[in-house]
Symmetry: C2
Subunit: 338 residues, 2 copies
Amino acid sequence: MRATPAVVMGHGGGGAMSAELVEHLFLPAYGSAAAAELGDSAVLTVGDGTRLAFSTDSFVVKPMFFPGGSIGDLAVNGTVNDLAMSGATPLFMSSAFILQEGTALTDLGRIAQDMGAAARAAGVRLVTGDTKVVDSGSGDGVYINTSGIGVIPAGVDIGPRRAAPGDAVLISGDIGVHGVAVMSCRDGLGFGTTVESDTAALHGLVAAMLATGADVHVLRDPTRGGVAASLNEIATASRVGVELIERDLPVPDTVRDACSLLGLDPLQVANEGKLIAIVPADSADRVLAALTEHPLGRGARRIGTCVTGHPGMVVARTGLGGTRVVGLPVGEQLPRIC
Amino acid sequence: MRATPAVVMGHGGGGAMSAELVEHLFLPAYGSAAAAELGDSAVLTVGDGTRLAFSTDSFVVKPMFFPGGSIGDLAVNGTVNDLAMSGATPLFMSSAFILQEGTALTDLGRIAQDMGAAARAAGVRLVTGDTKVVDSGSGDGVYINTSGIGVIPAGVDIGPRRAAPGDAVLISGDIGVHGVAVMSCRDGLGFGTTVESDTAALHGLVAAMLATGADVHVLRDPTRGGVAASLNEIATASRVGVELIERDLPVPDTVRDACSLLGLDPLQVANEGKLIAIVPADSADRVLAALTEHPLGRGARRIGTCVTGHPGMVVARTGLGGTRVVGLPVGEQLPRIC
């Protein structure tokens, strides 16, 4: 007898299984009601041609408080960043809570305060909300959904299909920090040094890049599935190859050590305050300069190039002169990281 | 020793405890980042003055499938209705899932199909999404958040503060049906006759009312907390009293019987396909005619009047010639009804 196919943790990992769920279950079921892509954010035109970015994300991170932040910070910054990656100025946000009966009101209050502070810092207004409660045993503390609306300035055209051969691939700083920070405070895992989450709102960094006048082709915040998942999606959508130079990847020693211990590739570990920018080669220096001048982009650097070879595939040149394929993570390596 | 104050089921009931959580926890914590009200939907102005309605709702109904519908129908229709109650034409929707590990993919597929069908019927597009998975034991099947964006036509001004003394209070049909339908399929509860949920998208009914040219003051879909909660909120926001005529309330026998059995007031039981309309007395007949001509408003009738007396309070004239106060439900009488 064959078991009934069921949801597994990997369906929520942001990798290949998540993509399959969208392609083989959600899109066929939604039919003509669905947009062609159900991506991290949608671009909508309303009224006189105003272009809106619209995005949604649910947060189930465990534990709810971790070094450097909380589920409240993530819930605001995550949606701000999804909007910012289409070049939008984030303006409005909803907050919807699913609370487990028995959750301490002091914890909920701390989380809501973190959300308020993050929203003020990002200049977005929390305008509508909802609260549901599930019985004890049917939930796990606090789950938060935020959805956001931003306005895309005229002339800005940023999207995952725009990467072109020759483009430079930039990263705004150290990778893998958020994932390691959350893992470090789970049961029995401590890596000696405290790693703090990099959770941050990135729309200011995006504005600094756009102010250079460069034609930014693609932006992406590499959250679940890490840099590997984001670059694979971009390579597929743009039909280009991506070639990374492994020694140029900014991986802090603490992240490298933790990844060794857990058998993880830092390229597949979640970030919550970093962005990938893909820009024409001749504007790479200008954009890098703008990034490094911003407090959230001090560690920015170029990590690779888009190429005509191996379209849809990401490879890394290793220190030994060889190359290795950087795959889309299949399932979930770090469950409930955001 | 005093117990730590904690979340209880009543915080999710849509009544007095839900309102307290918003007023005493969320609004102070959000501070200046929050809109003055965190209502069911917000009205936002973008671009050249286009007015958007923006709404969010999470759905945790148990069981996920019930007579007349599923969590998928509710998730689409609920957000469509929140938008429609500000007079907006619903256009775009997000769908975010929190799935429990082990949920059958066939169940998830049925739910997604229901969402697609409901979205097509309502003319909204599902444009962006998210999926998270929580470990078995940390969730309960499928939780869905939908957020929606609609455009409010020029000249339309509908809101909970606009009820005025003398206005007529209309209901579009039988009350209490959804709540009883969900309760009827819970463990051990059967009421003899099958009651089907009234889940439906109401924006067409709103359009029919607006087409009469009447100056519709307030619209509300009385979901959690029922007609009682909606009218209490309106009475408070508009500083009017509301006087209902009890014998005019359309309560089907099946709902009345089930409520007797469970000790519930039908006025406090959730609806998912009904609306309350508050309109100037001199347009009440015209609006009622438009409602009753529409398939979703055949059972429409006038149930009361806004008055200058007892502002903020809802009373019902009983069959015996007395009056009783129709209170805002305190906690949650029917948990996880939507």
